[in-house]
Subunit: 458 residues, 2 copies
């Protein structure tokens, strides 16, 4: 529980925080577009001065690309735990511009929302943390932990500079935990800690048959069709119950605990609305699991692309020389990308008939991620969420991956708490991106609560 003066500071300065959020969002820090290079530098400087005014010690590190801003609470106390807050000041391109109701870099307040590119992803979210820390520092209260803000400028284009920066500065960035608010929650009434992410592994399968496309009339019936073989092999990778039909594939899959399933079931979900949003005639997934469990906590094998033979207009009567498929696996704790790929590859080879040649190429891989949801840090985060948002805090998992989380684990050996403030209709990466001023205010209050909670748990 933070001192009353900290919470009072947030109330008193609420108006200024909104003004500053708009100032920040006014800078068109589009990392994908080279004409915005000066804007990125200006944006890094803006957040650096903002952090200095909050009372932090700030260094702006130039990189080969965009600057990285590191801001620390002054007078590091080695007896206290240290936490790192990550954010990014770069934003997605605003195009297509004609779909915006108001210009993307002229923040427009309507009701309790502010519309602007990058306001939710991610300017508003890390600014909320900065405001909360300012409240602690400026109200003269002693923070129970040391804090380091790490704010980069190229998350939307792959975090290249940060991936190099982390191992080189691992000493200065050492911490007991990382806080990332760069994701979402189901609603203001359903604040949530995202404690798990799926990993990913990519591969490409190719089936080679005859040495060239063959006339299907002259030769058809005597040679196997590589496209048919590919279909028959791939078809057997999924069983009728929606499970991946590969021996040993589920061996490393951590089962959901009763506690987790109970928690995940509390997340609001409307199957009809979800189905209509995706545009499918019927939802489909592994039997025995809810859609929320299926999309976040169970492994998948997806065909991302198919290529074979003639794809133009009309028909061409050939037996194609080859056929290929792009496949990605979504992995869950505790699956390993390498091991999963090996299992898939072995099964593909086993299923392949001797009438064709099979090749499997490996692509990129990313590990799944899990913070023990009943661990001390996660439980501390849940208490802060509840205090900040005024509603029971839920546990959530995400189906995709957030690569920087794995980088923190690898280089800093620190777990990440994903404490999103974005709402499902915030339109990140889309026209009319917005941020809820209520989420902003509650996010600040959550952050004010977070530091004593985390310090007590560390």
């Amino acid at each position: 529980m933070p001192p009353q003066s900290v919470l009072a500071f947030l109330e008193t300065h609420a108006r200024r925080f909104v003004d500053e959020l708009c100032d920040y969002a006014r800078i068109p820090s589009v990392s994908a577009q080279s004409q915005h290079k000066p804007d990125l530098v200006r944006c890094a400087d803006w957040i650096a001065s903002r952090a200095r005014r909050a009372g932090l010690d700030v260094t702006v590190f130039p990189t080969r690309t965009n600057p990285i801003v590191v801001a620390r609470t002054p007078r590091t106390d080695r007896r206290k735990p240290t936490f790192l807050v990550y954010g990014h000041y770069d934003v997605q391109p605003p195009e297509p511009l004609d779909l915006w109701t108001s210009p993307p870099f002229e923040p427009r307040i309507q009701g309790r929302n502010v519309f602007a590119r990058g306001i939710s992803d991610n300017k508003g979210q890390h600014l909320a943390h900065l405001n909360a820390v300012e409240a602690w520092l400026q109200s003269g209260e002693e923070l129970p932990c040391n804090l380091t803000f790490l704010i980069e400028g190229e998350e939307e284009v792959g975090s290249g500079a940060l991936q190099e920066f982390l191992p080189r500065h691992r000493g200065e960035l050492a911490c007991q935990g990382v806080v990332v608010s760069d994701n979402g929650i189901p609603s203001l009434k359903h604040p949530a800690l995202t404690y798990g992410l799926r990993g990913v592994a990519a591969l490409e399968v190719r089936v080679d048959g005859p040495s060239r496309d063959l006339h299907s009339g002259v030769y058809g019936g005597t040679v196997d069709n590589p496209a048919m073989v590919l279909c028959q092999i791939l078809a057997r990778l999924r069983d009728p119950r929606g499970r991946i039909a590969i021996p040993g594939y589920y061996d490393d899959v951590a089962p959901l605990s009763a506690y987790e399933r109970r928690q995940l079931a509390k997340l609001p979900f409307d199957a009809g609305k979800y189905r209509r949003f995706l545009g499918v005639p019927k939802l489909s997934g592994e039997a025995g699991f809810t859609p929320e469990e299926q999309r976040t906590s169970r492994p998948t094998l997806e065909i991302n692309g198919l290529t074979s033979g003639y794809q133009g207009e009309g028909s061409k009567t050939i037996i194609p020389a080859w056929a290929s498929a792009k496949i990605t696996l979504r992995l869950v704790p505790n699956q390993q990308p390498r091991k999963a790929i090996t299992a898939v590859k072995r099964q593909l080879q086993k299923l392949c008939p001797p009438t064709v040649r099979l090749t499997v190429k490996h692509g990129h891989g990313g590990e799944p991620y899990l913070v023990a949801p009943d661990g001390a840090l996660a439980q501390a985060a849940l208490r802060a969420l509840q205090a900040g948002f005024g509603h029971e805090a839920l546990l959530a998992r995400e189906g995709g991956s957030i690569p920087i989380v794995s980088a923190f684990k690898k280089h800093l050996r620190a777990d990440t708490l994903l404490l999103g403030m974005a709402l499902p209709d915030d339109n990140p990466h889309s026209p009319n991106e917005k941020f809820s001023l209520d989420a902003y205010a509650r996010g600040m209050r959550m952050s004010a609560h977070l530091w004593p909670e985390l310090a007590g748990a560390a």
Copy 2:
């Protein structure tokens, strides 16, 4: 058996026939290339005068494209049967020129072969018939039948003009049978009558899932993957024994008689050589049939192309919105394209899960073709082949289709006897096309024997 004088005429004029073959092949009558338009007219005129000199009554019909030459034996005798000989004076483009050993329109004799574009496909083959008919007419013998030569100039580009010409001239072209020598035989020692062709039917299957490509991390696990569904549906169209797994699909398939199987087994076939030529690790086909039977007398279902999702470099983590496949069926007597497509469509719909939408588009269709191999005309043709080539004549079937054969059946209600003279190494449509002077000479002798045989059988 033709009179001795006819056969003697062929011997006496053998040298001239070779010279004339070379003259004919010197005209670059490439129907696909507009700059050769005058050459096509010149070529039609050449074969018209050649037919006149042979003693035929000739009309050159102009068309919107290339002329059609019709040449008839004089003084049509209505008491005798009439046969039609089909040929085409146009040739394939000669490109790529650098792969020719000698210029494509400068015929080069080497050993018992003449190299030139179009010499085998089809100038040499219909000229052999014309020479044989000249031998009958000029040696003063009475042909036991009326004959009509129908020689078109755009077979290599789809026979458009002829397809219009046939129904308009069906009265003048009426006949008891058509002779087409525009195909091949296994070797000079294995002359053969091709008595069956496969038909074809094309369709396109499309599986639609979500309304747009979806992020495979965020949504994967809750919606069906259209590419996987397509694979699973297509995979089930073929059973492990290489049969098409569609209810009722084989109902109309005429079984091979013991006689046919015995005859087809006489065709020379070297499995190892065939496999190496196609470049496959192992041959594959419907269990219980020889490769020759599989590729000519059994239906197939081939995937000609697959399209779905991301096909570029690297990977893209999506669930594709849709997936599609191009399919062609090869049909055998007595399958009907429309009925086969309906059966496939019904099965596709039956196999499609409710999680996606399925669409099937019909493409072109062509009927299979069969002349009763033990019928009078076929047996007469076999005797002529044997007499002409000096070896037992075999029965063969082709796996592809020859569209003009169906047109003759449709418009003239006449069966076609396919009496090819080309050899497997004649390179039709390829560089260094050639024609065997032995095949030419034996083809003439076969043709000289053919008319009394056919007249006797009609």
